[in-house]
């Protein structure tokens, strides 16, 4: 059985990678096969997968992870400005710098649990956001956002003899330009690595300890475990994921703004995780992709395009229908998001993964259930909803 589940994890990883890399093919019928959107799937998927390591495994609800996203972005853009347009150092720096911040913020915030923890993380994120807009303007370039300029030093590039022509340089992976599809494949690769690490953590003794903390933290202490370092590591790791995701945002579009750090952005990653399924392996990625997909579709509508869509409706009713529907689409798409969120929390706290499982169990009820308990998805159930 042990062997079997190890193998099934590899199958899962392989299937995940295949699904991610083949996105350009299977997203085509959905009209979502363009690089910009697929990059976002990968980036936010990574963000949510990392967030889930903290929230899903330990139950600690952080409202400050957007700060790490922002820090990752700023770091990457600075790496482009000062060192090189190569994305590898940028991502590395994003990860390291975010880790440093996560150590400090995590160490302090984790002295409290429950809602106090949430408020502490929120306070830190708000401080970062406010400072990025005000006194840290030399580093963040305030409201304009941090951008590349022609006069940037780029010492490594300069040393390698790469000169800047009249237009701004583009990010590259050892010469391959990171825009369009190559950019997507780069993000996809980072995502798959991130998924692999998350898979290992979920299955590891470390992951088991984190789930123990979520289940009964006091008991963990009486079992001889010091829960603080476990929690801190989970916090740091998930912060690093957010940092890398922020770095990837800068890779695909070398611009970093403070709005990325706003607390509503933290709310969004919570939402992705919940919608997909907290504490499941695949859920957060699915949640992120679903949200970004609907955001993309729904926010594209405006009154004119709606009027076309509802052409079939009788003339007199048309304005009413269009008005009601326009509440939910276009710039009102956040309303749909909020509703989706509420419906998930109310009716399906386990998220999409839970829904899939319930549907699955309807079909499998006819068969004997013994075989099912050993599949990876079942051991995933045990990891909590």
């Amino acid at each position: 059985m042990n062997k079997f589940s190890a193998i099934s994890d590899w199958v899962l990883l392989f299937a995940f990678a295949a699904a991610v890399y083949s996105m350009p093919i299977w997203l085509e019928p959905l009209g979502a096969d363009y690089p910009d959107l697929m990059q976002r799937f990968a980036i936010f998927g990574l963000f949510a997968i990392g967030y889930n390591i903290l929230f899903g495994l330990t139950g600690y609800l952080s409202f400050g992870h957007a700060a790490f996203l922002g820090i990752g972005s700023y770091t990457a853009v600075w790496s482009f400005k000062l060192l090189t347009m190569n994305v590898v150092p940028a991502i590395m720096f994003s990860m390291l710098v975010t880790a440093l911040f996560a150590v400090v913020i995590g160490f302090i915030s984790l002295r409290r649990s429950g809602i106090y923890f949430s408020i502490l993380t929120l306070a830190f994120a708000q401080m970062s956001y406010k400072l990025a807009y005000s006194v840290l303007t030399p580093i963040t370039n305030g409201e304009t956002g941090l951008q590349l300029t022609l006069s940037d030093a780029r010492v490594l590039d300069a040393a390698a003899g790469i000169e800047v022509t009249r237009s701004l340089p583009v990010t590259n992976f050892f010469g391959i330009k990171m825009s369009g599809m190559p950019g997507f494949y780069f993000c996809a690769t980072v995502l798959v690595i991130g998924f692999f690490i998350s898979l290992r953590i979920f299955r590891s003794p470390f992951g088991a300890m984190l789930r123990g903390i979520k289940s009964n933290q006091t008991r963990m202490a009486y079992t001889g475990l010091n829960t603080k370092p476990y929690l801190l590591w989970a916090f740091i790791i998930s912060g690093m994921y957010a940092g890398v995701a922020g770095g990837l945002m800068a890779v695909t579009d070398p611009l970093a703004g403070a709005e990325r750090m706003q607390w509503t952005a933290s709310g969004e990653v919570v939402l992705m995780t919940i919608l997909g399924g907290v504490g499941t392996l695949l859920g957060p990625f699915i949640g992120a992709a679903v949200i970004k997909y609907f955001e993309n579709i729904l926010s594209a509508y405006n009154t004119t395009s709606l009027t076309q869509v509802f052409d079939f409706v009788p003339e007199a009713l048309q304005p009413i229908v269009v008005d009601v529907v326009s509440l939910f689409v276009g710039s009102g798409w956040h309303l749909t998001l909020g509703l989706m969120f509420m419906i998930t929390v109310i009716f399906l706290p386990g998220g999409i993964m839970e829904g899939v499982r319930r549907i699955g169990s309807i079909f499998s009820r006819k068969k004997p259930t013994a075989a099912i308990t050993s599949t990876p998805s079942a051991s995933e159930n045990a990891s909590g909803a």
């Binding site: 470390f206 088991a208 079992t223 475990l225 045990a382």
Partner: protein, 253 residues
């Protein structure tokens, strides 16, 4: 047989004016099974809570094997080998029975923190085999994959006993281990405790069931109103008039 492993010295503890423990002096000797009995609300659980660091005594201290336990973190006390089985079952309800027992085993083996994020939990072979043995010892081998939260109350208590035993503690503190168990489970548990007793593990056991007490204990302390009113062998305690008055008397009525 004579060396003291646990020494509770002059411990006081009060909750908002209520003296839950006063003047407690207690010595537990290596290898013995020491029972603490007393009426409801006598302070028995409070005494154990003080020993494992869940409560801080107002004054006095608890010494285990030369180490002062007062002021130590719960996990540090556990790592010294003092393990507690709670009165209301404290388990990990969302985890499987196997995981419930493996976590204490790993805590004992790896210490209070170890970042093992790349290994597979399920390939911790020795720990798993040990956990499976223990669970089947307690007659729960068929349940190892179920979530602990779905167990009956009696089974939860047995699981918690397994979690305590899994750490091979030097001192095991049991708070009414058989309460809430069906009769035959109680008997099985007593048998198990007797077997452990033969292994020489030091135990402090709180128990209401006199049948259990007298069949297990080497020595007994009687607690009433937060004070130890009598201490001695089962025979001595049985015949002590103060005990009859404070405790046994009630029961016989």
């Amino acid at each position: 047989m004579e060396n003291t492993v646990l020494h509770v010295a002059d411990v006081h503890k009060s909750f908002a004016g209520l003296h839950a423990l006063s003047d407690i002096d207690l010595s537990v000797r290596e290898g013995e099974t020491h029972a603490i009995i007393g009426p409801n609300g006598a302070g028995k659980s409070t005494l154990l809570n003080v020993c494992i660091g869940r409560l801080k005594p107002d004054s006095g201290h608890v010494v285990f094997d030369g180490e002062n336990l007062t002021g130590k973190q719960p996990h540090e006390i556990n790592q010294l080998g003092v393990v507690r089985v709670f009165q209301t079952p404290e388990i990990f309800p969302e985890l499987s029975l196997l995981e419930n027992v493996m976590i204490p085993i790993l805590a004992k083996r790896d210490g209070s923190f170890k970042l093992r994020w790349f290994r597979r939990f399920s390939s911790e072979k020795t720990a798993r085999i040990e956990a499976e043995h223990l669970l089947s010892d307690l007659g729960m081998e068929t349940l190892i994959r179920t979530d602990a939260g779905s167990l009956s109350r009696g089974d939860k208590r047995r699981l918690e006993l397994a979690m305590g035993l899994a750490q091979k503690p030097r001192l095991l503190l049991l708070d009414e281990p058989t309460a809430g168990m069906a009769r035959h489970d109680t008997n099985a548990t007593i048998e198990l405790l007797k077997r452990i007793k033969a292994g020489g593990m030091t135990k402090v056991i709180i128990e209401h069931d006199m049948h259990v007490v007298f069949s297990l204990a080497d020595r007994i302390s009687v607690l009433a109103g937060g004070r130890i009113i009598c201490q001695g062998t089962p025979e001595e305690v049985k015949n002590d008039p103060r005990v009859k008055e404070a405790y046994l008397g009630e029961e016989q009525v």
